[in-house]
């Protein structure tokens, strides 16, 4: 019965047993989901965004619901990179998982220092968040200027032997330009999209719902934007792409693969269905069998545009 299909993907040397990953900031450090699934089934776990020193984040409310989406202004609350290495990483590695550390910094030097620290650990790759819209000094500034993007990518890459994934901000005029700078800077892989900056208003109090006034939009509402950007970027660069933004079903996963993503990450979808990541691993296999596709890579970029 069970015809074997090949779901493994190769992200420029980083090999995953399947292309289903978690999106940073939505999966904690993995443990939080263990009541709902066997997390070792997943292609990779991307952990909560880390900073050099622990961070308390923004004031609450930090979450606002919007039509088919949510806004968040967590402000990168995290226990710091050292805590992650001491308390979280070895647990995930003992389960045989592929672990990707997501990093955010205030300066290029900070990013480089984190890269050096993580380079000596068992984590499998680093995802560099140059797009978090929440933190005033960092985030947007790095991810929106193509020269800065080139500089930070190449400098971090110089401090790292592990694969470097650069995560793009959608809050830019031309995502293709930024993607090209990342490729030129020597990144091994791209991930996109991070959240779109938005706002929600309470007309009774005449105040924003988020204490931070603005936040990052995620969830099904952003899927069309994410698909468009993955498609444009995949037509522009030759490095692999991890696509994300609003995935909540196997159909969504296939759409991202068709427009050129080599792997996908699920973020907000975890909040609606905390078992979604492992369900999608199973459903992808079923989809491939049902459609007589022996290797998942056959789907990548197979959209036929007009």
């Amino acid at each position: 019965m069970s015809k074997k299909v090949d779901t493994s993907v190769n992200l420029n040397g980083l090999i995953l047993k399947n292309p289903i990953m978690t999106a940073s900031g939505t999966f904690g450090f993995g443990k939080e989901y263990e009541d709902f699934m066997d997390i070792s089934k997943l292609g990779a776990v991307v952990v909560k965004g880390l900073t050099l020193k622990p961070k308390k984040g923004n004031k609450t409310p930090r979450i606002a619901e919007t039509p088919s989406g949510i806004l968040n202004s967590i402000g990168l609350e995290n226990p710091g990179v050292e805590h992650f290495i001491k308390e979280e990483l070895s647990y995930l590695k003992r389960k045989g998982m592929t672990v990707i550390a997501n990093i955010a910094g205030n300066t290029i030097e900070e990013y480089c220092e984190m890269a050096r620290i993580l380079n000596d650990t068992e984590c499998d790759a680093i995802e560099m968040n140059i797009s978090c819209p929440n933190v005033k000094k960092g985030g947007v500034a790095f991810g929106t200027d193509k020269d800065v993007v080139y500089k930070i990518t190449s400098e971090v890459k110089n401090n790292l032997d592990k694969p470097l994934i650069v995560k793009l901000s959608p809050n830019v005029t031309d995502i293709k330009e930024i993607a090209k700078s990342v490729e030129k800077g020597g990144a091994d892989c791209l991930s996109l999209i991070n959240t779109l900056i938005g706002m929600a208003v309470d007309i009774k109090t005449r105040r924003p719902i988020l204490k931070n006034n603005i936040g990052g939009l995620s969830g099904p509402a952003i899927k069309p934007v994410a698909l468009r950007m993955v498609w444009q970027v995949s037509n522009t660069v030759n490095i692999p792409i991890i696509g994300m933004g609003g995935i909540t079903s196997i159909e969504d996963v296939i759409e991202f693969l068709l427009v050129g993503a080599n792997a996908v990450a699920i973020g907000t979808g975890n909040f609606i269905n905390p078992a979604i990541n492992s369900e999608l691993v199973d459903k992808l296999e079923e989809y491939l069998i049902d459609n007589n596709i022996s290797n998942v890579n056959e789907l990548v970029g197979k959209i036929e545009p007009y």
Partner: protein
């Protein structure tokens, strides 16, 4: 252990005005639940409204495998919930949060509830009553509910309404404060609006009584993964959804 369970709605009825009571059939969640924990309920299976809604467990009925909730219709999610018919299924994640610490015996206990914050106090009273002397204080705007049920589970129930339509006219914290001055409460539990909780925190401090408060915060995941619901407790960042919703009033920062 936390579960995702498709629960059949056994009953969904209006109690008064905008307050509803729902019974959910559960085989898994009900068995692991305790007083003060909550559920994350998906009110429909569409992407709008997207998030689950956090709702406290009102009662755990292990004989009939039922979880009871009380909810107030305040926005689109709870309005959709109020339209759900008997026999329909809802996706529920739970039990979530730490719940109340009820490991006490022989104490004179005060349980204080305001508005819809009264909902989780039924299961709380159940787990304290008969081992302790349980005094319940309920504050409403106008129309009271759940009084009869709580009468069965306590030594005394005192009620106030802001409108004066029932019981003492004014805030329930005034009744509580008077009783504390005259009597000897050893331990307090409270759930209700932030303003009420702040007042009770002050009372607890003034009279040096330990007090557990159950808090609300906007949530993304409800399971400790998104850090949407962070709160400062003893100077440390904690999560309302897993480290709470119940905290000791002297440890938690209730100011914005």
């Amino acid at each position: 252990m936390k579960y995702i369970e498709n629960c059949t709605v056994n009953k969904n009825e209006k109690i008064i005005d905008d307050i509803y009571r729902m019974e959910l059939k559960s085989n898994k969640i009900v068995k692991d639940s305790k007083a003060g924990q909550f559920l994350e309920i998906k009110v429909n299976n569409l992407n709008y409204p997207l998030l689950r809604r956090p709702i406290s467990i009102n009662e755990i009925n292990l004989d009939e495998n039922l979880l009871v909730i009380y909810y107030k219709t305040v926005g689109k999610g709870t309005k959709i919930l109020s339209q759900v018919k008997k026999g329909e299924k809802l996706s529920v994640v739970g039990p979530l949060g730490n719940g109340f610490d009820t490991s006490y015996e022989g104490l004179n206990i005060g349980i204080v509830g305001g508005g819809i914050g009264i909902a989780p106090l039924v299961e709380l009273a159940k787990s304290l009553y008969q081992k302790n002397n349980v005094n319940i204080y309920l504050g409403f705007n106008d129309k009271p509910y759940l009084i009869n049920r709580l009468n069965e589970l306590s030594n005394i129930v005192k009620v106030s309404t802001v409108s004066g339509s029932y019981g003492y006219k004014g805030f329930i914290t005034e009744v509580l404060e008077k009783d504390i001055k005259e009597g000897n409460l050893d331990l307090l539990y409270a759930c209700g609006p932030k303003g009420m909780l702040k007042k009770i925190k002050d009372i607890a401090k003034e009279f040096n009584i330990r007090c557990q408060v159950s808090l609300e915060e906007r949530m993304g995941c409800g399971i400790g993964a998104c850090l949407g619901c962070s709160i400062e407790v003893n100077g440390q960042m904690k999560k309302v959804c897993v480290d709470g919703p119940v905290f000791w009033s002297n440890e938690v920062n209730l100011d914005e």
